[in-house]
Assembly symmetry: C2
């Protein structure tokens, strides 16, 4: 079985994640996080908070997902955030025109509908499903639309396609909160929505997905990164000409001009650290600079951290971009609200360097990176901070008060506020296997000696090594 | 200034919460959580997780907010989750018909459109805004609608008006996860949406709001609550006849039949404890049983925990209801998926007791309950677990290395993974005042003795008492 199929199987069987709305036949692009998956996802989000809010002092905000049209007109999403579709006149199925042309190696991205139609006609492209003919290509809005209110006050609204724009709106409030000093970062973790035409890549392309985007607001005169050296490391870099450089130090990449903006380089280095802390293999990660023809026109430089997935090939896990004054400038213009600040002798619109994490993709990549198939077992070698439970507590046998003792140890651990489970069913071997399969780092077994001496056996998930410690030591160790 | 105005003012000024989309003129029923508010909201959600996931062993799941029509047809929301509106033929403004009639003391709730129209006509009700005449009453769907996909696969979808239904769908997966044993609880924390016609009560009635709903799946033969006595307390109860009983023990209320279902009584008692842990005054809470004419027909018993708000009067903070087999039964019928389980010799559809918390309302009530206006300061006396930061670190003066020492203490605290801030600006008195205003429980001041002796002054927010401790002791104390 391929690793992807193993993960999908475990996902369903062990309550990690599974398709949404299954009993109603499902709807592609939507996923449920189950009891185990919710814990892992929560841990990934908390890890991002520890790195960006606690350590870096970013502010966290939470804005609505339903948001009025004005915002998306200002941001440029209305009218341009769309795919060109063709619909079969016979079976009604819709397809992305560029994907159909791509299959016969014709590039059409960014071409206007008439040219795309001409290319479709020239190449006799028909419906791959029923061989029917296609209608003319039309623009298909990737934003989910809805409306708020009724009567005279009815307003068109969209489900946000990204958290970022909703973060920008209250910039002047953050400016006050930051006591009128730059730089500062504002993070938002939450749902975003894209009405993809027919998403088929599981958690890699969802219609409702989770993001963790950080907007750093900077003085355009100062994009330095005093702490860059602390995060330096050797990485693989694919530059804007698609040339691959192996084993480059990030500090060195800045010195040689390969990465022009130190603050952006710092964010790339930090993101590498974040992914490694999640349990994603560093060796499968690389930095990729956007080519000039794919980069947004307002961005002076854009980079992705990519992961080489066994199942999906290269996946973008975070995009880091210097967006200049574009976003605040657009809202300044469209809202009429002054987004300029006075700082150190100048009045200007702050620049933004955006760090745009997905959450679902890293979630999947953590599973893929941490999955191990050994001779007699399968396991997830999650770092402790990501594992769904900190420990599993077992009773060797249910009799002689050992079950009660195990419950007592379990309760003591719970009282520390940590996520733990207790399991009394089946052989100890089977219970180890069940715990390994969902990546619990430590199993704790209570036996006769627990009753007489107050000690337990703890067994390490990865090494399978066992040792005997007292219940008090256990609690200290679990508290960390 | 009234307490509500103080909170709204602090909310904006200190980054707690403020109206969304302000720069585009706002849109009622939407709120942003700012840097301080996000921390408090996160803490409230974590406190719910500690009580229900860690302590009670509930499972947490996360389901999409966009969900296909089928679900909401099955649940009964499509067609019935609506208000009867009238629209002014002159100015276009829409109003809830029942509210207009209510103002002249005519009850119309639940009456069909023709009868409501007759009542409106009889009483010559015209537009309160422009004196125009109204169109006929029409059903206004409270669910936000959208659609997913295009072409032959286009599907009507709704933004969920509650998390509960999306939780039910994967019941059979939870049943497997729970190893086919009852009871178990499944919690979901997330956004829900109601397209209220003109919400005017700030955070009490939002169009996009946060919920934390727990569905307990039970064997209909066993709704006992072995731990009820541990949570017993004296409460005020308003029964289904609207009779108020003061100072009733919950155990006693079960014994006398005032609360018929022990498991439901246990959940009411637990919710009281949860709210007190959040910092909401127990004396302002009471239990209210739904009257027979307001209770859903399928519910055998429904209760609210209500808070007496200075600004809004009585507010429902959590609704706890025995919903019987209604929800799983509906999905069983509509999806064709068998929701029955075989357990202890019987095959049945499990019953559900739902514990439906709002998050935004408790958030507001925590602010209201914890707000203190003293002679020389205002403060929020948040419990430590709810406070936005665990501590604020100050330097007495910036010179002589004291600022660096304070940064060092700050970094040591951050390394524990706790949310702390550092502040070097203004007099110590002003810094205390700023910290009090956002409810930081402890202020830590570094001075000359910190350099020479390694001690700091810690000052308690509520008592203003100061004491001198070592940096090591401080770290131990903050770690908790």
């Amino acid at each position: 079985m391929k690793i992807y199929d193993k993960i999908v199987d475990l996902g369903k069987r062990r309550g990690i994640m599974y398709p949404s709305f299954e009993i109603y036949g499902g709807l592609s692009g939507f996923v449920d996080y189950g009891p185990i998956g919710s814990r892992i996802k929560q841990n990934i989000e908390d890890l991002l908070r520890r790195h960006y809010i606690v350590s870096d002092g970013c502010f966290e905000v939470q804005c609505p997902t339903v948001s009025p049209e004005d915002i998306w007109i200002a941001s440029g999403h209305v009218g341009s955030f769309s795919d060109l579709l063709v619909e079969c006149e016979k079976c009604g199925e819709a397809f992305r025109a560029d994907k159909l042309l791509d299959e016969i190696n014709i590039a059409s991205e960014g071409k206007p509908p008439e040219q795309v139609k001409a290319l479709m006609d020239e190449n006799n492209i028909i419906c791959p499903k029923c061989k029917g003919t296609f209608c003319d290509p039309y623009e298909y809005d990737l934003m989910f639309s809805t409306s708020v209110g009724t009567g005279a006050k009815k307003k068109t609204a969209y489900l946000r396609p990204e958290t970022a724009q909703t973060t920008y709106l209250a910039f002047k409030r953050y400016w006050e909160y930051a006591r009128k000093r730059l730089p500062f970062g504002v993070m938002q973790i939450g749902h975003s929505f894209r009405n993809e035409i027919s998403p088929k890549q599981g958690m890699i392309r969802l219609r409702e997905f989770n993001q963790a985007e950080i907007q750093y607001f900077l003085d355009p005169r100062d994009k330095s990164a005093p702490n860059l050296a602390d995060f330096d490391r050797k990485v693989t870099i694919q530059d804007r000409q698609d040339i691959v450089h192996e084993d480059v130090s990030i500090v060195n990449a800045v010195e040689t001009g390969m990465i022009k903006i130190p603050f952006l380089a710092y964010q790339l280095a930090k993101a590498m650290k974040v992914f490694e802390d999640m349990g994603i293999y560093g060796t499968r990660l690389r930095l990729r600079q956007h080519r000039d023809d794919e980069k947004a026109f307002y961005s002076s430089d854009t980079w992705d951290v990519e992961y080489e997935s066994e199942a999906f090939g290269k996946i973008e896990l975070v995009g880091i971009s210097d967006r200049g004054e574009y976003d605040l400038g657009r809202h300044n213009e469209h809202s009429g609200s002054d987004m300029r600040v006075s700082f150190e002798g100048e009045k200007f619109i702050p620049h933004v360097i955006e760090v745009a994490y997905g959450v679902d993709r890293p979630f999947y990549c953590v599973l893929e990176s941490c999955y191990r198939q050994e001779e007699d077992r399968s396991l997830f070698s999650f770092p402790t901070s990501v594992a769904p439970f900190r420990a599993a507590v077992f009773s060797l046998v249910k009799k002689s008060g050992i079950k009660e003792k195990a419950e007592d140890v379990f309760n003591k651990l719970k009282d520390q506020g940590v996520f733990v489970i207790v399991d009394h069913a089946g052989s100890i071997g089977k219970r180890y296997a069940r715990a390994d399969e969902i990546g619990i780092p430590v199993c704790v077994t209570c036996d006769y000696d627990t009753l007489s001496e107050g000690t337990v056996t703890i067994r390490d998930r990865d090494s399978k090594e066992q040792k005997r410690i007292s219940v008090d030591e256990l609690i200290d160790e679990i508290r960390g």
